[in-house]
Amino acid sequence: MQIFEYNGSALVAMVGKNCFAIASDRRLGVQLQTIATDFQRISKIHDRLFFGLSGLATDAQTLYQRLVFRHKLYQLREERDMKPETFANLVSAILYEKRFGPYFCQPVIAGLGDEDKPFICTMDSIGAKELAKDFVVAGTASESLYGACESMFKEDMEPEELFETVSQALLSSVDRDCLSGWGGHVYVVTPTEVKERILKGRMD
């Protein structure tokens, strides 16, 4: 089986009205066998910046540790949090450093930038940035996710409606993928609060 499909994953980030949502599945598997059903794929960099890593789980964990380290250094030097656009550039540079022996991950970055404008982007495993105004997807279920998001997405959704849309898109896509699913994890971030919710999905 391909290296990107070894552990299985599904990630999606969507933009709403002055808010964003980032969601992932919860399965960690070794090819077809399911090992864990509570794997954390999305991590917080700071209150207004989240990112998720799909692909090989070991590379995702290592990359997460490196990025947290770099951001902490930045906080010490600049005495402020990183902007999402800057963070995306940092991730892209770190991935390209390993151009000829890459990390087998695809990151999804979501954050609130200046004036609470939501920012989302995804990258391939060697750092090619893909900015989008509506939604970005990654993982083994990405093709299904593209279809589901494309049909369910609307501009300027409020946080509650955005949560419903992201959840439905995620659950219906992972139900068509053997390697991801077993529940869902959704973060909805507005300028004032972060709401974390766990989805009840099909456990097969």
Partner: protein, 272 residues
């Protein structure tokens, strides 16, 4: 019944006596050689390309009251789930069932073919065919196609004059008689639950619940199994479908979500 040996015949024409010098030069014995660099290995690659992985969970066991047969209903193509509602328990005739694992087309076709042969046996011999006989018919057919890329891992379960019968037959030509079998990528997980809970003297309801739980646990751990857990019972009067439960709902029935106890709660302080 004559063994279908057409697959074993050599494609090379027999080298005739070299006395026909009059006919011009006789061509050397030859057959179509595929245009490939790796002649010895390409066929294996081609078979691997069409060989569908046996992504499924099926199981069957004999107990005091008869035979219990159960299966999931997911069809997967690599990582993509192509269907969640495939019938994997095939009704060969009113008192015999076959399970499907491996290539769907192969299983469906050869089970139907087996059903035809069983009916012809009934008409010719004025009595029903035994489970031993039916499984032997299928095993012989599959053996004659050995090496050609068929992918069939089936169990033939039925009730005949000698009582309940269960055989495992596969496309490599194997045929095994037994009391408990599970076939497919989810079979290790199903065996774990089945072997632990099995007793010969169970009632029909207990056996059905054991079969259902085994399939459910396999669908939980195995990525290529899922959908609906179907359970069939084969008794002296033939087979009967007992249940078809969606495994997504079975999970929350076996492991209901408990509201977690709140350890610390923030309370509004009055007048602060």
């Amino acid at each position: 019944m004559k063994l279908d040996t057409s697959g074993l015949e050599s494609a090379v024409p027999v080298w005739g006596a070299p006395s026909e010098l009059v006919d011009g030069f006789s061509a050397a014995p030859s057959f179509e050689v595929p245009n490939t660099t790796d002649f010895d290995g390409f066929q294996k690659d081609a078979i691997q390309m069409v060989k569908p992985a046996k992504g499924t969970t099926t199981l069957a066991f004999i107990f005091k009251e008869g035979v219990m047969v159960a299966a999931d209903s997911r069809a997967s193509m690599g990582g993509y789930i192509s269907s969640q509602s495939v019938k994997k328990i095939i009704e060969i005739n009113p008192y015999m069932l076959g399970t499907m694992a491996g290539g769907a087309a192969d299983c469906q076709f050869w089970h139907r073919n087996l059903g035809i042969k069983c009916r012809l046996h009934e008409l010719a011999n004025k009595r029903r065919i035994s489970v031993t006989g039916a499984s032997k018919l299928l095993a012989n057919i599959l053996y004659s196609y050995r090496g050609m890329g068929l992918s069939v891992g089936t169990m033939i379960a039925g009730w005949d004059e000698t009582g309940p019968g269960l055989y495992y037959v596969d496309s490599e030509g194997g045929r095994l008689k037994g009391m408990r079998f599970s076939v497919g990528s989810g079979s290790p997980y199903a065996y774990g639950v089945l072997d632990n809970g099995y007793r010969y003297d169970m009632s029909v309801e207990e056996a059905a619940e054991l079969a259902r739980r085994s399939i459910y646990h396999a669908t939980f751990r195995d990525g290529a199994s899922g959908g609906v857990a179907s359970v069939y019972y084969v008794g002296p009067n033939g087979w009967k479908k007992l249940s078809g439960d969606d495994v997504g709902e079975l999970h929350y029935k076996y492991y209901p979500v408990m509201p977690s106890t709140v350890e610390q709660e923030m309370v509004e302080v009055a007048g602060a």
